[in-house]
């Protein structure tokens, strides 16, 4: 099967099962909502401090949500020996990785896009004009998280203590994503010119490229063993 068809079919498969069950998106959405709620209470509700905290708040919420969402990414494949069939299928293993990555990215982006109106509601943010830039930042940061998360999901799915191992591996390595995402989100929300936070966006982009290419290359070994 041609390379891009594999990606397309895997994304389609994941999306279809999500459309049928509607489990992941709704649970992720409510989880993120809970995180935002709890963190708003844990920090000060002071009107002056809140704008400084919001970028961090958003990305802590998205980060925790991606731990829940991405960690389960390969869990579904273990039912009915799906993983085995994927391993045996005469298709590029890298394409499977890119397919799963795109599927995860799509789900996470949907959750984030539903959450943005909530942010406007809760924090009285005026982000409509800044939405394109915000979406670009979200897209790049979520790609980075998904690229790492998809790989580690495949790594940990067949181990004991999967729930613990997944965040333990994901979080330290995604430090650049969090730094880049929080800084560029702060730049967007403060209405700064693009050139002020451009290097953070570039950082996210470089991270995405490096991690995706490396994972693409090593993913073959995970599935082949």
């Amino acid at each position: 099967m041609p390379f891009f068809n594999v990606i397309k079919w895997i994304v389609w498969k994941d999306l279809l099962s999500e459309i049928r069950s509607r489990e992941t998106i709704s649970s992720l959405f409510f989880f993120a909502l809970n995180v935002i709620l709890i963190f708003s209470f844990s920090f000060s509700a002071d009107r002056d401090i809140m704008p400084i905290l919001i970028p961090g708040l958003i990305w802590v919420a998205f980060g925790f949500t991606s731990i829940i969402g991405l960690g389960k990414s390969f869990l579904a494949e273990t039912h009915h020996d799906c993983l085995l069939y994927l391993q045996m299928a005469p298709i590029s293993k890298g394409a499977i990785y890119l397919g799963k990555l795109s599927g995860n990215l799509l789900l996470m982006m949907i959750v984030e896009i539903i959450l943005f109106p909530m942010m406007i509601l809760f924090f009285n943010l005026d982000i409509l004009a800044k939405l394109p830039a915000l979406l670009l930042v979200s897209f790049l940061a979520t790609t980075g998280l998904s690229a790492l998360g998809t790989l580690f999901s495949a790594l940990t799915v067949q181990t004991r203590a999967r729930e613990v191992m997944f965040p333990l591996l994901l979080l330290p390595l995604s430090v650049p994503v969090f730094i880049g995402a929080v800084e560029s989100t702060a730049g967007v929300l403060n209405g700064q010119a693009f050139s002020f936070y451009r290097h953070w966006v570039e950082l996210l982009f470089v991270f995405d490229m490096v991690v995706t290419i490396t994972s693409f290359w090593v993913f073959e070994f995970i599935l082949n063993d």
Binding site: T156, L169, L173, V175, P176, V218
Partner: protein, 239 residues
């Protein structure tokens, strides 16, 4: 085949390397604690450098070794190479932890703080977390081949990630903490260079020696498990 060659080399080299490492470190410690002069600005505290800097360098070397071992493993798929990178990771955790602790002890009298969000410090912290994650992941996988492959993949991803961590923290820091504490390095006088050199070469050799010993230890452990497993399956076959 590789196993026998590797173990043979280890047995031949470990004695001389270990002895040389020991002698160099003893001389380095003697020079560092007894002979060398105090730094003009830092005073006596500069002596911490003679353990901190070589240990930190060894931690980096150990991680490079884990990375190379992991790449080699994915290529050759030989269990002894896996033992080798596993051993280097164990030694690496040790050196990273000690480098962090001695760095903290050094920072207190010189910068008057135990910890700053300096890119080097944060990278080392992340390095420690990656290595601990690496060792933990290994304990949670039952299948030996899977364990080796997963660990190798994690080591490679971590290795390409670390430079990005370093630069992102550096940018982040220049934005948020306009260098309040001076991170000026020590201007190294010749009297200070000698113990540093002895310690650096000594600990590097010690690292080689430790990895050799630990590789053999892990290999023997694996062998013993395999033998006991073999015995068990034999016993079951007899029933």
């Amino acid at each position: 085949m590789i196993t026998q060659r590797f173990l043979g080399k280890c047995r031949k080299l470990e004695g001389p390397i270990g002895a040389l490492a020991g002698v160099l470190i003893f001389v380095g410690l003697y020079l560092g604690l007894v002979v060398s002069p105090a730094d003009y600005y830092q005073g006596e505290v500069v002596r911490i450098m003679y353990v901190h800097v070589p240990f930190a360098k060894c931690a980096m070397l150990a991680y490079i070794t884990v990375f190379i071992g992991s790449c080699l493993y994915l290529w050759k798929k030989d269990p002894i190479i896996d033992n080798f990178s596993h051993a280097a990771a164990g030694v690496g955790v040790f050196f990273t932890a000690i480098a962090l602790i001695t760095g903290s002890i050094w920072a207190k009298p010189t910068w008057n703080t135990w910890w700053t969000w300096d890119p080097r410090l944060v990278s080392f912290m992340i390095l420690l977390l990656i290595l601990i994650g690496y060792l933990m992941l290994r304990t949670f996988v039952d299948d030996k081949r899977k364990e080796a492959t997963y660990a190798a993949v994690l080591a490679i991803i971590g290795f390409v990630d670390l430079p990005i961590v370093y630069f992102s923290v550096e940018w982040w820091r220049t934005l948020h903490q306009p260098l309040s504490v001076s991170m000026r390095g020590v201007s190294i006088a010749p009297g200070m260079l000698k113990p540093l050199l002895f310690m650096a070469i000594g600990t590097s050799l010690l690292l080689v020696y430790m990895v050799m010993i630990r590789t053999q230890m892990l290999y023997l452990q694996y062998l013993l498990e395999a033998k006991r497993g073999g015995l068990l399956s034999n016993a079951e076959g007899m029933k």
